[in-house]
């Protein structure tokens, strides 16, 4: 599958990572075009798809940019998600935040599987499909707000940030009356620069969820929390602490990513009018366009880190036990060995196998719901505003390009 294997080093004679000069410092941000991954990665990826890089703490790691390499890294059980392991790549150079330890994303093997199954049942393709009417209603209400704000309105503020968090509230079972209270807590938890504020926000979040769980213990409710309380808390399979942790991390993981895909996705379509026109004429292309936009847009900035628990071969390169690797899905999604003309946005393409949801055991459990949300939002938006365009087509896109997710911070549209 990979075009790089011809140049791959012989595993027998592979040089240990610590003796190699790093190709780059990680991360890199400089881009030549708003929808392309940073230039330094693109350049590196063709030459050396598994390359030594230096992390902020000075330790070397491997940067994985080929499709095959990223798939191996994310699905081979010899790679661990345990952030407390000394070899785990550390992007910030600071100790791992306690907020992130012992969440689903940091667990391995059977323990991960045990907790993960409790969520997958709530996020099946069928469950997602059943939510289409609710998603459509939430989307239409957001589009009403956009229309009311008039031409020149910010799509990020009125639509991208609203729809995913309201859908997540509906799924988990947060009452509409608490929507603002909840999003306020979530924002402090995610954005705060002071760890004191963050700690306080987490305490608030935990006690808020505790009240919701108590409510479910007394009333049957048909939502994720209600189901998990009945199926796993009542039977002792899940502690109250872990139930609350699973619930708030699910909410947090789902909102921002989808929000940024809405903003960035609409921006990309408005900047590719031929593709937009095609979607307007042939709406049956929408589900495929969702996957193509997810493939094409370099949303994930810092990649997906893992540490090798054993020697593993990744796209021809031996990664030695104890070494860290960072898989970069945006580069894998542009691998010419898998996608023809990878740097073109082409909504007719079959891009289903893109790696933006990750791959393997940790792949986003809510991918079916996310795909459906994007399909409904893009679709309703094009239907409702047939003349939608950028308010100022000559202006540079306003992007936030140093955060965990690459995104447009504001998108003024007119119609």
């Amino acid at each position: 599958m990979s075009s790089h294997s011809a140049a791959a080093p012989d595993p027998e004679t592979a040089t240990p990572l610590h003796t190699l000069a790093p190709e780059l410092a990680f991360p890199q941000f400089e881009r030549s075009a708003p929808f392309d991954p940073p230039q330094a990665y693109t350049e590196l990826s063709g030459r050396c798809p598994v390359a030594p890089v230096s992390m902020a703490d000075g330790k070397p790691s491997w940067l994985i940019t080929s499709f095959e390499g990223v798939r191996t890294t994310l699905s081979d059980p010899h790679f661990s998600s345990d952030m407390s392991h000394p070899g785990f790549p550390n992007r910030t150079g600071k100790p791992v935040d306690d907020l992130l330890k012992d969440t689903l994303g940091a667990m391995d093997g059977e323990r991960h599987r045990y907790y993960r199954r409790m969520l997958t049942g709530e996020l099946t393709v069928r469950r997602a499909k059943a939510m289409r009417p609710v998603i459509t209603q939430i989307t239409d209400e957001a589009l009403d707000q956009l229309a009311a704000a008039g031409p020149g309105a910010d799509l990020v503020k009125h639509v991208a940030f609203v729809v995913p968090s309201r859908v997540a509230c509906h799924l988990v079972g947060i009452p509409l009356s608490d929507y603002e209270l909840f999003t306020g807590m979530a924002a402090t938890l995610m954005d705060s620069t002071s760890s004191d504020d963050q700690f306080a926000a987490l305490q608030n979040m935990v006690s808020y969820f505790d009240t919701l769980v108590t409510d479910r213990e007394h009333h049957d409710r048909d939502d994720l929390l209600g189901h998990m309380v009945r199926r796993y808390l009542a039977t002792g399979e899940l502690t109250r602490d872990m139930l609350i942790r699973l619930a708030w991390t699910t909410m947090a993981a789902g909102q921002e990513t989808t929000a940024h895909m809405i903003g960035l996705g609409v921006a990309a379509l408005l900047r590719h009018p031929d593709q937009l026109e095609l979607l307007r004429r042939e709406p049956h292309l929408l589900p495929g366009a969702v996957d193509e936009l997810m493939r094409y847009l370099p949303l994930i900035q810092f990649g997906i880190p893992r540490v090798a628990m054993d020697d593993v071969e990744v796209d021809g390169q031996t990664v030695t036990a104890g070494e860290g690797v960072v898989a970069l899905p945006p580069l894998a999604n542009r691998d010419p060995a898998v996608f023809e003309r990878p740097d073109e946005l082409d909504v007719r393409r079959n891009a289903r196998q893109h790696l933006t949801f990750g791959y393997g055991p940790h792949q986003c459990p809510a991918h079916a719901l996310a795909r459906l949300e994007l399909e409904v939002v893009y679709g309703r938006l094009l239907e409702r505003f047939p003349t939608l365009r950028l308010a100022d087509s000559d202006a540079d896109l306003k992007v936030q390009d140093k955060d965990i997710m690459y995104r447009v911070s504001e998108l003024a549209v007119t119609w």
Binding site: G121, T124, V125, R126, P365, A368
Partner: protein, 64 residues
């Protein structure tokens, strides 16, 4: 006709198979794959092969 096999012990409930071939695969209440039909009709063959390829856990077997 091709025969479809699933290995429910390997399945991680990721639902890639259901997206690829919705008339052949479904998921139970734990998200684990189950088969709607054991033999795929000719017009479903492509989808089933796509599903087998898409499954990150190699939990789907296809035999002609």
């Amino acid at each position: 006709m091709v025969k479809v096999n699933i290995d429910r012990d390997r399945c991680y409930g990721l639902g890639q198979c259901v997206l690829a071939a919705p008339d052949v695969f479904d998921q139970d209440d734990d998200g684990i794959v189950w088969l709607l039909v054991e033999e795929a009709r000719p017009e479903q063959h492509d989808e089933v092969r796509q599903a087998a390829l898409a499954c990150p856990r190699q939990a789907i077997g296809v035999a002609d």
